[in-house]
Subunit: 466 residues, 2 copies
């Protein structure tokens, strides 16, 4: 390969025309969203009161492809899509890999307007909300990556965006808060006094540090109390994973430009599962059609929050206050509060039901890494490839490095592709702590997982009833 | 134009093969670098002791084009070049501009590895330093954009990078410092105890806030006391402007892809002048060849530091401690300390001699804007185009908006092109202060300019002697 092919571009008019819906191809059907009030599948009217209608339709669609509206494709094309696919020559060299037997590629979602893959679905959700005549989208955010993307998307479509931001992050990450406000987002530290779910905590302690679970509850409650507002989620749900499938479709076109049709290993980090899904699902469909028999798929988690690797597969609430729909997924329990690792986007107790489905069908595997080893990998990446990665993204990098080194030791030929989900310009503290030797590792002990699951009062869902 | 043409890309193999050297085409010859010790043109051996040899040769070259080494072009291509050219449809719409009579384009240098145009020359300087067998490059940095780029470039070529960072910024902008260290840069708060120039201030006050002038003196001194180290500058000099001309060459190719061969207005912000030069000089050569008779060129300055618009054209020192070469340029006086506006990259007392030459020959004009109006323009840009601009870049945006609005009022047809020199992810405080109504405006009064010029002990250079 010539070095001039190291960054593989696609013209803006190559933005995919449809999303890949994996649901009809899954070997076992996906489980429905369950109403937290009665443990039964959520009726459409309840789902429509929470999410934009079109998203609800996509959540349960059995169409294999869903067209991307032209107006939305134009916005992707105008702003940042298709994103580049890079051959990681610098990293390969640093790992002692020579020649073309082992090739590492990364799909660079960090070039998006807000610096990650998140606008892919934020723009879609805002587009559908606008089309439905809604006025406002409400969401929660931890580290702020999702809140920035939704604020940006809503602003583009003239919608109000309200973000409940975990108070600890609200105080620790002022940059993300300013960015959201720059996009006209309305940002509240959570728990707040604006919702009943928030006031329970806020009234006792106005300085309460908050949690993602409480923030979700506030956002859902806020949207349910306003006719023209809906709740917006940045990961986990089927329709969110669907919107991200433009990533993998572009990657396939880009790999084919350099003559690669069968990558060996597909890697992404997993919090709620949407960036992994975005890259993986278009390849997964090929695998399900028998086209990629040897391709492996690896989702990467932090050892501090290994929902898939160590969690239990069962029905659980999506949030602490049990206002969001119940999902069947790998979970550490909805009351579990993960250790405050820098990869805030991976601190979710559950996972996308699509991921659980693939795991259960042995179509993919998961791995987990320590915080210090992933930040070390991120630093190595910055020094060799130039872009400073988000702590979440560092998990995928670490796994790609491990796989490449292993293949090199074994004299194997491998094409490794990972999703470079975002840059780390708002996460410099993680690198500072690492370079100063102050970064702390944390592994979730098995006893704590059992304890977390036991102490979460799990929903009772009787599948025989539906 | 279809919206799918709004972001105009070039394949990586289209990275220009040569730089455009404007020197031989200038109507009056460019003035030489002057030795601060004796007021005479710096002999090559002195210049070679300060800068990498190849850069010195380029500084005075009379070749109209200078080839870009293939290895360097490969690195540009692998990492971020060519950068996209965007049609600003979102901004145009927000300004009430409809149809295709007025078109605003921006060249997006923010997608570089360190977020601005600075790596274009950092990579080139590091490449030549490595080729010469040097071990180390030393520089100063204000806000940190240049220090990040040089740390990145040096690290790629296995060189040590030492950065003297103005202490006020060192304390106020910890993010940039961490980024430099992530790229293996060695960062010292300036004034430091590492150089004589620094110790004069440091010994009296270890908390001295520093200035760009002192930091330059420290960096030059540091490089002069080590055989295998050289000084590296991120703007002002001819060879730096030269390295940036890839920007304008790509822009020409991109405009021609949408059928535009004669843009009406070319705009860039000006601190030392390199990003403006990078976009403008390839078009300027066409103008000098009679090809673009009607194209206007506008360099934009802050009202707090209007070196070109309000300064005097004369010989002046490049730094406070008079260690760097003397240049003939528009200047506010080398002892002038600009108001601490957020656009730290525009706080330089002088300007590139190439810019002064063009100004004196009425080939370009300059304009100046207040801090609040440029940040307001930046916020409007972020909300309509998606990317949050650096405060420096906001100056170019403000001018582009003014020109577009004026043309619209006058029912004129105009193609306006500006350089989007960098993103503002490390400059969020400027936006916060603006949104909270706390951003302060500052205009440099004429009396203060006279005073600054008077209090700077200007060098005596007798041009009749050389």
């Amino acid at each position: 390969m010539s070095k001039f092919n190291a960054r593989i571009l696609l013209e803006p008019n190559k933005v995919p025309k449809e999303w890949v819906n994996i649901l009809p191809d899954l070997p076992l059907p996906i489980t429905p969203l369950i109403n937290p009030m009665d443990g039964m599948p959520a009726p459409p009217e309840l789902a429509f009161a929470i999410f934009p209608k079109e998203c609800v339709m996509q959540e349960v669609s059995q169409e294999r492809t869903i067209p991307i509206p032209k107006e939305l494709r134009e916005i992707y094309a105008q702003t940042y899509r298709p994103t580049p696919l890079h051959r990681a020559y610098g990293l390969e060299k640093d790992l002692g890999i020579e020649g073309d037997d082992i090739k590492i590629f990364y799909k660079n979602e960090s070039v998006s307007t807000t610096g990650s893959h998140k606008p892919n679905t934020a723009l879609a959700q805002a587009f559908y909300a606008k089309k439905e005549g809604l006025k406002e989208l409400v969401t929660e955010t931890g580290a702020g990556q999702w809140g920035s993307a939704l604020s940006y998307g809503c602003n583009l479509f003239g919608l109000k965006c309200v973000v409940y931001m975990v108070r600890a992050s609200y105080i620790q990450k002022p940059g993300r808060k300013i960015l959201m406000k720059a996009y006209n987002g309305e940002v509240h530290a959570s728990p707040s006094k604006h919702t009943m779910s928030g006031r329970i905590f806020y009234d006792k302690n106005p300085e309460h540090p908050g949690s993602l679970g409480i923030a979700i509850s506030e956002a859902v409650e806020h949207s349910l109390t306003r006719d023209d507002a809906r709740y917006s989620l940045g990961s986990v749900l089927n329709f969110v994973c669907l919107h991200q499938t433009i990533i993998g479709q572009e990657t396939k076109m880009q790999l084919s430009k350099v003559g690669i049709s069968e990558p060996d290993i597909i890697i992404g980090c997993m919090g709620g599962g949407s960036n992994f899904s975005g890259l993986a699902l278009p390849f997964m469909r090929d695998k399900l059609e028998g086209k990629l028999p040897n391709t492996q798929f690896i989702g990467v988690e932090p050892r501090a929050c290994p929902s898939v690797t160590k969690g239990e597969y069962r029905w659980d609430y999506g949030d602490t206050a049990k206002k969001a729909p119940i999902l069947k997924m790998h979970t550490l329990g909805h009351s579990f509060i993960p250790h405050p690792i820098h990869a805030g986007g991976l601190r979710y107790h559950g996972i996308a039901p699509i991921i659980s489905n693939l795991i259960n069908n042995k179509l993919m595997t998961s791995s987990m890494h320590f915080q210090t080893e992933v930040i070390a990998a991120g630093l190595q990446f910055a020094r060799t490839e130039g872009i400073l990665p988000a702590p979440e993204t560092c998990h995928a990098i670490k796994e790609a490095i491990n796989q490449a080194v292993l293949a090199n030791e074994n004299n194997e030929k491998k094409v490794i592709v990972f999703n470079f989900s975002g840059h780390g310009y708002f996460d410099l503290l993680a690198y500072k702590e690492f370079m100063e030797g102050n970064l702390i590792d944390f592994e979730l002990p098995s006893e704590e997982i059992s304890e977390a699951l036991k102490s979460s009062d799990m929903p009772i869902v009787d599948e025989s009833k539906f």
